[in-house]
Amino acid sequence: PGLARAADPVRLEVGYIPILAAAPLFILDGEGWAREAGIELKLTKFESGPHAIQAMAAGKIDAMYAGVAPVLVARAKGADISVIANSAVEEMVVAGRGQFAKALGGKATPESFAKFVADNGRKVKIGTQPPGSVPDTVLRHWLFKVVKVDPATVDIISMGIDKTQQALLAGALDAATIREPTVTVTKQMDPNVSLLATGAEMFPNQPGTIIAVRGEVIKQHGDALTKLLKAHVRAVELIAKDPARAAKVANEYLGKGLMDAATLEAAFRSPGSKFVADPHGVVPAVENMMAYTKEIGSAEGIIPVAEAFDFRFYDAAVAK
């Protein structure tokens, strides 16, 4: 007796979507770094960002690793949510298969699209997520701004993330926007699948997955958030330094028994993975993207971006 007990750990419920971009969360939990920092994490998986946001708006989770777009929308609708750090950027890539991939021969040009249409008598079918979503926006940017293909030669089909992969493998699509780790998995399963464009080619600094936190939590557990971000930064560094180790830990969460660690490691090493913890660079990228969204008419207003970001905790975490 007489031994002072450590302060009760802060409990944080963190939501995530089972994608590679959430890997830092898995690492900081799996390696026990959060516990060391006095934070007791409870991880909750969501199938999609909007569901996670709804849970957060209803106060059911405290933080989440999710796409930046739905967070901004939710803020605009009155949800008290802020972005405190970044996790990954430039996630989405374009993968093609079969005839179309061959026709392009590794280099997408307006001519190769036109030729494909002429040869096959149909438009190029590209699968992505609904209009207004990040994947759709960056795909359109790549097609019409970067490659500058004739809109009449492509048919953009919007569907769920899972469905995109399945439709691609089933041959119902010629190309699709997908992200790691499924890029690696898909390529392993079907050698006909090849990468047509990296995230950076599609949209420089393409915004991706961020960490968002409920306003309430920011007020009450600011310290804990700083500590969490320290662990997050450490996890991002680990991925860069030791992908094998990172893969081993993340595999427990992401692909437990569904994928081997080697595949995951390959995914970490692929050009589709770019982990960046610093949120500062994200703001202009998001603003650029918003502008483009407005330009193609898939969003009505410009949502103020900068005020959605709260850099304090990140800055505190990397100071010193």
Binding site: S48, G49, P50, I53, Q54, A57, A58, A69, P70, V73, A74, A76, K77, G78, A79, D80, K125, G127, Q129, P130, P131, G132, S133, I157, S158, M159, G160, K163, Q166, A167, A170, G171, A172, L173
Partner: protein, 254 residues
């Protein structure tokens, strides 16, 4: 046991029920449990409706979904009744299919989607297939039970009057006798079909469902609610008409 209500009483009661429901919803939406942007109130619907109709989206989506729905419903209902009847009538066929059915039955629409894509591509037919599938099961089981429950005395009557052959037995005794049960299955399928429209349109086939899931992906909840109300209205009309027809068809029931 149950007196039929006067028409105007029942209309008034229905209106009252709907009003109470809408008020409760509005109250919940405004209570602030959830930011109102994320749980829109019914009063947000009219504005969304006007916007969508102006853009022409609403009409297109309704027509597209109606066509998936109606063809899926038709296929699923007809096949479900046919297979249910066959299984209920022939012991051999019943035994042979019983466990295959048990294997296929619990497979969710979502798991069928890859097959739908493979067989039909990203096409209307794939959506129809998925809707037909759910509707099929409901009708299959309802018909099976209804046919098994047909009064054996009436079947005997058929044999006694030269109507024991397959066709007359089926169409003059078994199906009319099973009709109340079959129609109850059809009615349940009517609703299940709409419930499945969304899942069936998850993979790039345009319609109410895809519009809804797109909107929900972008947290455009007022649009989600608009289409939910649209589906409710479409279903309500289907179901109401069906009940009227059913009442006619089953007039022989006391």
């Amino acid at each position: 046991m149950r007196q039929p209500l006067k028409l105007h009483t029942s209309v008034a009661l229905s209106a009252l029920g709907v009003a109470v429901f809408l008020l409760a919803w509005e109250a919940l939406a405004r209570s602030g449990v959830v930011p109102s942007g994320l749980l829109p109130s019914p009063s947000a619907v009219p504005a969304a409706f006007v916007a969508e109709v102006r853009a022409g989206t609403w009409q297109t989506m309704v027509l597209a979904s109606l066509s998936h729905y109606l063809s899926g419903l038709f296929l699923g209902t007809v096949l479900g009744i046919a297979f249910g009847t066959a299984a209920a009538m022939w012991g051999v066929w019943d035994a042979a299919q019983a466990w295959v059915v048990r294997m296929l039955r619990p497979i969710p629409s979502i798991a069928w989607i890859p097959f739908a894509i493979i067989w039909f591509g990203v096409s209307e037919a794939a959506a129809t297939f998925l809707i037909a599938l759910t509707v099929f099961w409901i009708n299959y089981y309802a018909t099976y039970a209804a046919v098994r429950g047909v009064d054996k005395d009436l079947i005997e009557l058929g044999y006694a009057f030269g109507q024991g052959g397959l066709v007359p037995r089926l169409f003059k005794i078994v199906l009319p006798g099973a009709l109340p049960g079959i129609l109850s299955g059809v009615r349940a399928g009517l609703g299940q079909g709409w419930m499945t429209v969304v899942a069936a349109e998850l993979f790039g086939i345009a319609g109410l469902g895809s519009r809804m899931s797109d909107a929900s992906g972008l947290l455009a909840t007022h649009i989600v609610v608009l289409y939910m109300v649209t589906i409710a209205a479409l279903y309500g009309v289907c179901d109401f008409l069906f009940m009227q027809v059913q009442q006619r068809v089953l007039a022989w029931q006391k």
